[in-house]
């Protein structure tokens, strides 16, 4: 009886056809190499071929013939991002470093996950307070190898952060000026936060207030940056002598983002 087959078709349609994406290299001549069938060796992918009658031989495909990777997003990428968000920077670094290395030979190849991994690694290095040289090297690598404006912007920002951390404020300011003029929104917003920090350090309170408040004014959809922006503005208002606005900004952090680390700091600093 054929009716069950009809039903099966309908059910199949309902379920959709779910297939796991492959991990493969696509070469410039159209050849597709499954990742499981080759290994990386020097500047080539090496495939072992069993010879008829026993024995084996190697076939080498130069890396510069790889034009695309068909590769699903490695689990380590969202995992490291989550670890960073949860403040587990060391763990994030351990998670992402193997991916960063794995895709190292394919920094600019379409379908490669190197840029994402390198950007996460950079953030983890900053969060673990790695040495300035290490961060600078990671940032410069992204700036020269990546084409994604977000990643390049993040790398520039990292350089500015290192400069700021090591007291080279004018260099940091110059880099920030460059970032805020052409980087994608998320990077620009973070650059303004850093600029606020620098101004606050110099006790240029008006400049600090304006820098921090650019985040809620122009980047209102970036909720994750608001607690830092509001806390910074509260401190800057305080220095500027506007106690009531400082108080309101502290309360804003505590009320709107009660679970943020900044809320705890705001509570302590404001005495509320």
């Amino acid at each position: 009886m054929h009716l069950p087959r009809t039903l099966a078709i309908v059910l199949l349609a309902l379920l959709g056809a779910a297939t796991l994406p492959a991990q493969s290299y696509v070469l410039n001549n159209g050849t597709v190499l499954k990742a499981a069938d080759v290994k990386l060796s020097g500047n080539a992918l090496v495939q072992e071929i069993a010879l008829p009658g026993g024995g084996s031989a190697e076939r080498r495909y130069l890396l510069n013939t790889v034009t695309r990777l068909d590769w699903p997003e490695p689990e380590a990428i969202p995992q490291a991002a989550n670890q960073l968000a949860a403040g587990q920077a060391k763990e994030a670094l351990d998670t992402i470093t193997p991916v960063y290395r794995q895709f190292g030979p394919f920094t600019k190849t379409p379908g490669s996950w190197w840029t994402q991994a390198a950007a996460l690694r950079l953030q983890a290095l900053i969060a673990t307070k790695a040495s300035g040289a290490e961060i600078t090297s990671a940032a410069r690598e992204i700036m020269t190898s990546a084409t994604d404006p977000e990643a390049v912007g993040t790398a520039k920002l990292a350089l500015a952060q290192v400069d700021a951390r090591e007291g080279r404020d004018s260099l940091a300011t110059a880099m920030i000026d460059e970032i805020v003029s052409d980087a994608p929104a998320g990077v620009r917003a973070r650059a303004w936060l850093l600029r606020g920090d620098l101004a606050l350090k110099k006790q240029a309170f008006e400049d600090a207030i304006e820098s921090y408040l650019r985040v809620p004014a122009f980047f209102g959809t970036l909720d994750e940056l608001m607690p830092a922006a509001l806390l910074g503005s509260a401190r800057a208002y305080k220095g500027y002598g506007d106690a009531s606005r400082a108080e309101r900004a502290y309360l804003d952090v505590m009320d709107t983002y009660p679970d943020s680390a900044e809320a705890a700091v705001a509570k302590k600093e404001s005495g509320f």
């Binding site: 009716l3 349609a13 959709g16 400049d207 207030i209 004014a217 122009f218 209102g220 002598g241 106690a243």
Partner: protein, 959 residues
Amino acid sequence: MTAPRNSDQSSSLRKPGIVLAMLLASGPAMAQVSIPIPNILAEAETFIKNRQPADAAALLDRVIARADEGEAMPDGVDMDRIRLTAANNHFRAQNLPRAAEVLNGLLAKNPTSTALVAEARMLLGLSLALQNKFAEAIPVFAAAEQSPTYRDKAMLYGAMSAQQAGKVEEAIAAYGRLLATSPRDRDWADAALSLINLQLKTGDLPSARRGLSLLRGNIPLVDNLAGLNVLSLQLGDELTKANDPAGALTAYRTVLFKKDIIDQQLRRNARMEADIKRIQDFTVGDATQMDSVRRINARLEQAKAAVEEIKKLENYDATLLFRLGNAFQLRGGAWEAALIFEEIIQKYPEAPEREQAYLGLVRAYSESGRLEKTRLAAERFQRAYPNSQFGAQALYLAAAAAGQRGDTSAQLEFLSIATEKYRDNRELLEPMLMMKANALFSLGRYPEVTTAAQEYLASFPQGKFIEEAAYISAMAVLAEGEASAAAHAINTYIESYPQGKFIEDARYRLAATEYAKQNYKAALEGTQSWLADYPTEHPQRGEVYSLQGDAYAGLNESDKAIESYRNALLLPLSDEQLGYVLDELTRLYQAKRDFDSAVDMWEQFANERPDHPYVINAAYWIGRIRSREGRTDEALSRVADITARYVTDAQRDSVERLLIEVSSMLAKPPRAKRGEPRPEPPTLDQLFARVDQLLLTRDNRDSATARARALFVKSEIAGLRKEPRVQAEYLDRIASTNSPDTLPPGILGKLGDHLLAKGELDLARSFYTEIVSAHPKSIFADYGYVGLGEIALREGNGNEALRLFNNAIDLAGARFKLMEATIGQAKALLQLGRLDAAQNLFEQVAGNRSWRGPATAESLYSLGEIQLKRGTPDDIAKAQAHFQRIYISYKRYTDWVAKAYLRSAEAFEKLGQNQEAANALREMLRDERLTDYPETATAKNKLISLEATLPATPAGGNS
């Protein structure tokens, strides 16, 4: 497929379409030829596989018809499933009425399979909805909600049908149920958008706002970002109208800017297209999936259209920014609003919103208390839109801001422009004229007050402020000291407004005019009748008693005067009046040689009002009176006693004033007794031991603040005893052993100045900052602002410096640093290239006799610099005069003298007077005091080059 068939049939069936067409088209003559049901079903399945739903449906209809006619179906044939499949294919073939008919027939038979029933209901609902029979579809979808499989889709379609049927409440309820229980996916986000749309239409703004916040946390799920943008804008506008700026701000902040929305929507569109293709490629497609495709398509089309629309909107970002700016402004976010309005002005020169953005900018700067920026914004607005309809409003706002900050000069400047330029704006002219009269009054320009008040009365004879205008006019006459004329004006006011709002004050002032005319009796009568007529709790009563005391004093009735003043002391008085009354009582008691009463009064005051700033006066008078009685030690110990009460409290900034008194009393050399040689003054060590003895007790010696204060007194004593090295050493000790947060503001200020003078800018900055951030209300706050302003000046940050010097005066009252703040303002203005304003201030400093000294020399030098910058021969000649004045009249200030000589020579040179230039340099080089100044080396070189241009002089000539 089990039924047998012959070879012909078999070969024919290889072309099913043809055979079936023949069979189905056959007439009654062939009725006896009956194709076996399994064959038809097999054929139908082939059609389904080949995506020919109409053909499949037609075949299945035949099966249904034969079953309905009573033909027995082969084993295993499930007619319910056949009917459902038929309906599905009719639906796919867009034969919706037939699909609905088949499904109604199926459901009427009450099939036992719940899954099949659910599927049938969903399909029926969709078939009806797509025929626009929404009202009929609603109950069908409601019934389908019982199926766990189709629950979410049924709720979604039910809500959509209700919405289409105009049953808004029903739709909202259905969407609400769906959003509360269904998984958060892109359909969920789409449903949320629909719900917010409905809530907006029904005016349920709080729910719409909550919905939007929820969506904001799930942005990646939203396919139609452009739609979200539109809804957010609509919601923001509605919430603004409903006076909910916080809500409006939340709404506007979810709206993306043009580039972002286009980029993100295009990415989403690509994703939607991929989804559609995936569904179409991988499935034969049931009704709900087909509808999913249809809905994704619809969303895609909407989004594409929205993107095209957005691309066409040139002012999209400016409009959004303007809304954001207004929302921030209304919510009290003046700083954010200012940033946004600046952005509109800078980046969107052609936007229609730009003009109003200027008005917003003026308001935002004004509300954030940044007067200088307010002023500049108002000026920029005037230049950019000289004929703007909002010009008057902007100037009015700027004037009001200046008034609030106490900058009456700036206020008057704005008002003068506005009242000149916008005379036709009657609505604003009226309050502006009145504000102008008040500003003039505050500036002490009394004759102009009368003129302004008269101008108001002439322009608005029935105006809202005619009483105020009449009264301020009378007060201006009084303030000018024209007692008789003032009395006349006040009497006129009293006659015109016997129940007026200023009547109590008018009667008091009238009595005061009598006192001013030395008609003490009349003044006394005036105060007596006032005290009789107005209640005891009247806030002016203390002031009237004080005037009564004055009148009695004028009549030489000291005891009655004392009684009146003491009555005044029992009532509320301003600090200024309180100080006056206390001083008058002290004077009267001293005149009567009743020292004990005077001391008792101050003791009582110090005990009852220990926090009052006049406790310092108390200590001063107690010390002075007791000293005069020859009881110096007692005086010192009493002053130290008052001081010691507060010595551990860093917040009590008035202690430092007492410490300075103590320092001064200790440092003073002892008086010689008559007939005896002058005693040796105590050594510094002896004095320092006395300081410890007076200020540090067992209870307070562990306090870091108390110890720092004792060190501070020692440094002051060293200063008074002309021991600058010791003084610096003690200040350094305080700075190195105390963190800024343990020190009181007076000491912080002194330390900041000391460190600034040593060039330790960062350390100085930390002390000054502690003053303005931790003690902004302190009497020493001006030390902080002036010090930070000075640092900003040195760092070349003129704007910040100007703000800080303004704060020293406007916020801190510049009790100690008025001269430094004023000269600082002038220097900042000069650094900013605002020569006229700088010149004005430097002239004020140079012309102030009480500030005569280095500040005068510096101001003269700067005035010369300003004239040199202007550069006309006339200006250079004026510059020359300023420089000359320094080395002629202010010789003591050698650092300025050295600079002035050099610039003087330059000025002569520019005027072509090389001989005079050389003379000035020679004179400079003759002054031995200047030998070590770097200017001297420059002068020598310059003189050599100048002499080369001069004609040879005979020996012994001008040298």
